[in-house]
């Protein structure tokens, strides 16, 4: 098959004379593979969980971005989509789940409550004001109350772009 410019990712590939061989940097190939197969953790807490399930359903279909495989165990996941309000009783569990995920791991904060506490910021004694207050570094913030499914897909695309622009680590 001849390599031509209409293939996605063709900026990473180099044509080789004679055909049948393509050359790319391993960093680019690994980043592309990591971004295109992000498996999320089923972590719906509140109302945003319903929009996350709707994104996984057939009308909006998160599976075409590679993220259709939702796993319940944190040991098998790449990305944790925190969807919903984080409350005082739940924050130890969230920290433990984040620590149990293996590297490389990413976090998407979905919804206003996961970003900063949302409408429960004032006058509430039992809501933690955002995922960052628990001690979890967040990669992508998806705002909305609840965010539309298209917005969550936009967040996943942004995360894929972020992964593709990281440098390889020397291990």
């Amino acid at each position: 098959m001849a390599v031509n410019e209409r293939i996605p990712g063709s900026e990473y590939l180099e044509k080789f004379p004679g055909g049948e061989v393509i050359l790319a940097k391993s960093q680019d190939v690994f980043n592309w593979a990591k971004g295109a197969s992000l498996w999320p953790l089923t972590f719906g807490l509140a109302c945003c969980a319903i929009e996350m399930m709707t994104t996984g359903a057939s009308h909006f279909d998160i599976d075409r971005f590679g993220s259709g495989v939702f796993r319940a165990s944190p040991r098998q996941c790449d990305v944790m989509i925190i969807a919903g309000t984080i409350c005082v009783k739940m924050q130890d569990s969230i920290k433990r789940l984040y620590d149990q995920m293996p590297e490389p791991k990413y976090v998407i904060a979905m919804g206003n409550c996961a970003i900063s506490g949302g409408i429960f910021y004032h006058d509430s004694y039992s809501v933690v004001k955002g995922a960052e207050a628990v001690g979890i570094p967040v990669d992508v913030y998806v705002a909305g109350c609840p965010p539309r499914p298209e917005n969550l897909l936009n967040g996943i695309i942004k995360l894929q772009e972020k992964i593709r622009s990281t440098k390889a680590r020397v291990t």
Binding site: V88, H122, S124
Partner: protein, 150 residues
């Protein structure tokens, strides 16, 4: 109207149980409160459904409010018992209605009212390590950000 009928029935049976009767609610005395509710449940009025237990903090006293419902007559009855801040205990109703189990735990958690005779009185909504009761009007805790007044 129905509150007046119920109030008259209670008055015939237990002459000194009622403190005050209004069209919306009946206020009972704390000491004779459980036999009155047993009469309401098993007597001819048939208030077999305990709908809700809640409390209101009146800054000096706590009113415990019970909402009972009768399917036969289609009446909703509100009963109040006033407890002073110095003695926040009252009898538990778990022997009459199983619905009272979780509802009383919630009132204990949020207001600090102790229900004697409850099989498992511990906090239900807040963490077990807390010592404050959040819905009191004088509640203070770190991290509580009040809404700015404009």
């Amino acid at each position: 109207m129905e509150t007046a009928i119920v109030s008259k029935s209670i008055q015939e049976r237990f002459p000194d149980a009622i403190v005050e009767t209004k069209p919306e609610w009946i206020c009972l005395k704390k000491e004779i409160f459980t036999p009155v509710l047993q009469f309401l449940k098993t007597g001819h009025l048939a208030f077999i459904n305990l709908h809700c237990i809640t409390a209101v903090d009146r800054q000096g006293s706590v009113e415990v409010v019970y909402h009972l419902y009768s399917f036969e007559h289609k009446w909703m009855l509100t009963i109040k018992v006033i407890l002073l801040d110095s003695d926040l205990t009252i009898d538990s109703l778990t022997s009459l209605w199983s619905a009272a189990n979780w509802l009383e735990r919630e009132v204990f958690d949020l207001f600090g009212v102790k229900f004697t005779g409850h099989p498992d009185l511990r906090r239900i909504l807040n963490p077990d390590t807390w010592s404050e009761h959040p819905l009191r009007k004088d509640f203070k805790r770190d991290g509580f950000i009040p809404r700015p007044v404009r």
